[in-house]
Amino acid sequence: MASIPTTRRGLAAAMRGAARPRSLEQQFQAMRLSAKCSRCLSTESFQAAPEIDSEKIQGMIQARHARPVPVSPSYFSRTSRFNDSYLALDKLLRIYGNLPIIPPNAVERVSWKTLDDFRHAVGEQVRATDYVKCLAIVKRLHQIHPKLKPAPVIQALNDFKRSVQAFKNETVKQQLDKYGRSLGNGRRKSSSARAWLVEGNGEVLVNGKTLADYFGRVHDRETAVWALHATGRMDKYNVWARVEGGGTTGQAEALTLAISRALMVHEPALKPALRRAGCVTRDPRRVERKKHGRVKARKRPAWVKR
C-alpha cells in the first residue's frame, strides 16, 4: 500500500456507506416519504423499503411535510461531486492498492486534467490542494500494471484524463512518394517554403526559376542549398521548390530548412550532420512589434524642446 497522504480519512470513513453505487430504485426509495419525520441521516445501510401500497398508505399519512433525502451524503458539502469521486478513488485504492505496479518510466504517459479543466468539468470550485491529493491517488492507480488493471479503476481514471491526449500523437513519418520525391517545408521570418527533393544531378528550380535567377545574391543561393552542400550531396539531388512571403534572406533560409527536411526523408541518418550544419533548427525570430509611445519597436522619440 502506497503511503498516500489522505487526510480526509475521517470524512471518508463517515461517508463510506454513502459512496456505494445504488440502483435507481434504491435512490427512489431513499427519497421516500418519511413517515416518522426522522431527522437523523441515514448513514450505514439502507433497508429496502417494502413496496408502497397506496391504499394502505392513504390512511397512514399524517405528516404535513414530505422531504426527500439526498442521494449522496456529500450533498451538503461544498464540492459534492468532487468529494464523491475522491471517495470512490480512495476506495479503489484500498481495494486494488496491492496489485503489482510498473516502474514510473514504463507507465503510459497520460495528460491529466488540470485544476481548471477539472473545475470546469464538475462545475465546482475545487481546492487546489485537494485536487493535488486526488491526482496523487489517480497516478498511483494508474501505475497498476496494465494487464492487471481492473475495469472500475480504468473507468474511474477516465474522468481525470483530458479529452485530448497529446502523448498519443505520433509524428507523421514522411515518406517518399511513388515518384521518389520527398517533400519538406520550412519557414523563416515571414517566408515559407516547400521543397521537393528527388535524386538527380544538382539542378535547382525555385518558383520555376534557376537558383541564380531567383536569388541575385550568391550568399542567398548558398544558404538555400546549404543542406546539400554541407553533406556533400550537391550533385546527388534535384530540387523543385515553391517559396512565398518575406524577403530574399527569409526565403533563402526557409528553403534551407525545407530542403534539409526533405533530405532527411531520403536519408534520416544525416540528421546529426545537418544539425551541426545549422539546417535543422527553425529560427523563431520575427520582427519585433512596434509599441505605442515609441517610434519603432525600441526607438524612443527624440526630445523636442516645447
Partner: protein
C-alpha cells in the same frame, strides 16, 4: 549497479563477432551464449525495484525465450538434415536475422538506438562528424572576415558590405606583393610577402593583426585629482583588438582621396589602405605606437588604491 557502458561495448563487440563467424553448425552462436548470461541479470535488475510477478513484464522479455529456443533448435538442425543444404542456408539466414533482431532488442533494453546511423539511413555515405565549422550555415566565412564585414557595413546593408569585402579581396589578389618596411614589422609568423596576394584572407588578417593595439586606455573620471581623469591601461581581447585596428583603418580610409567613381571606389580605398598598412606607410601604425606609449606611461596608475576596486 554495474556500469552499463561496459556491457554495451561488450555487446557491440560480440555482435560483430557473431556476424563474421557464420555459426557453422556448431552449438549456439557466441553472441547468444553471452547475451543470455548477461541479459538475464540485467533484466532482473531492471525490475528489481518492484517486487512484481515475472509474467507482468514487458513484451520484450517475452520475445526473448522463444527466439533463443528456436536458435538452439536450429543448432540441432544441421545434424538432423545434413543433406538439405538449401534448408540449412535458409536456416542460417534465419539465424542471422534472429541474431540481428536480438541484438537490436538488447540495444533497446540498454537504452541504445538499434537503428544506429552507422548501420543504415543514408545512401551516399555519411560526412565525418564533427563537421568543420565552415560547414555551419552561420559560420561559413573566416571569423576575421565575418567580423570585419560587419564593421564595414553601413545602414545594416550586409549584402553590400559582403560585396565590398569580395572586391577588397580581389584588389589584394591583383595588387603586387607588398614591400615590407623593416621598421614596421608584421605580426610574427606571417608568411613571406610574395605569398600574401594569392591568399588575400591571410593578407587582410596579417594587416589587421599587425596594427592591432594590445591595450586601450581607460579613464577613471576625477580620480587623478583636480577633476582630471586617471588613465589606466587595460588589456584587449583578440576580437576587441581587431575591431580597434579596423576602425582605425576605416578612419584612414575616410581621409583617402578617391580616384574614380562607382561602386568599386570604396573597396578600392580600403584595400589601398590595407596595402599601406602592410607596407608600413599608413598612419595607423602611429596611432598604435601612441596608444602603446600612453599605456606604458600610465601603467603606474594601475597601483592607484582608488581604482583597485574597479579592476
Amino acid at each position: 549497479m554495474p556500469p552499463r557502458l561496459n556491457l554495451t561495448s561488450a555487446f557491440r563487440a560480440l555482435s560483430l563477432r557473431a556476424s563474421t563467424t557464420p555459426a557453422a553448425g556448431t552449438s549456439q552462436p557466441l553472441f547468444l551464449q553471452q547475451s543470455q548470461k548477461v541479459a538475464a541479470p540485467a533484466a532482473r535488475r531492471f525490475y528489481s525495484g518492484d517486487n512484481l510477478t515475472p509474467d507482468s513484464q514487458l513484451p520484450q522479455s517475452e520475445q526473448l525465450p522463444p527466439s533463443s529456443s528456436s536458435s538452439s533448435s536450429s543448432s540441432l538442425s544441421p545434424e538432423q538434415f545434413d543433406n538439405a543444404a538449401q534448408q540449412s542456408v535458409r536456416q542460417q539466414q534465419q539465424r542471422q536475422d534472429n541474431v540481428n533482431a536480438l541484438n537490436r532488442l538488447e540495444m533497446v533494453a540498454y537504452g541504445l538506438n538499434p537503428f544506429d546511423a552507422k548501420e543504415e539511413g543514408h545512401k551516399y555515405g555519411l560526412p565525418s562528424l564533427p563537421l568543420p565549422s565552415e560547414l555551419h550555415k552561420d559560420h561559413r566565412y573566416d571569423d576575421v572576415m565575418g567580423q570585419i564585414t560587419r564593421l564595414l557595413m553601413k545602414d545594416g546593408k550586409l549584402s553590400k558590405a559582403q560585396r565590398d569585402m569580395a572586391m577588397i579581396l580581389n584588389y589584394l589578389r591583383t595588387s603586387p606583393p607588398p614591400k615590407l618596411n623593416p621598421l614596421r614589422p608584421l605580426i610574427p609568423g606571417s608568411p613571406a610577402p610574395h605569398f600574401l596576394p594569392l591568399d588575400p584572407v591571410t593578407y587582410l588578417r596579417v594587416a589587421i593583426d599587425s596594427v592591432a593595439p594590445l591595450v586601450k586606455i581607460r579613464g577613471f573620471r576625477g580620480m587623478a585629482g583636480g577633476g582630471r581623469s586617471l588613465e589606466v591601461p587595460a588589456p584587449l581581447a583578440a576580437r576587441q583588438r581587431r575591431r580597434t585596428a579596423f576602425m582605425w583603418i576605416l578612419d584612414a580610409v575616410q581621409k583617402r582621396k578617391s580616384k574614380g567613381s562607382g561602386r568599386k571606389m570604396f573597396p578600392t580605398r580600403v584595400a589601398e589602405e590595407i596595402v599601406a598598412v602592410v607596407e608600413g606607410r599608413s598612419n595607423v601604425w602611429e596611432k598604435r605606437a601612441q596608444v602603446h606609449k600612453l599605456g606604458t606611461a600610465a601603467r603606474a596608475n594601475l597601483m592607484n588604491p582608488q581604482i583597485k576596486n574597479f579592476l
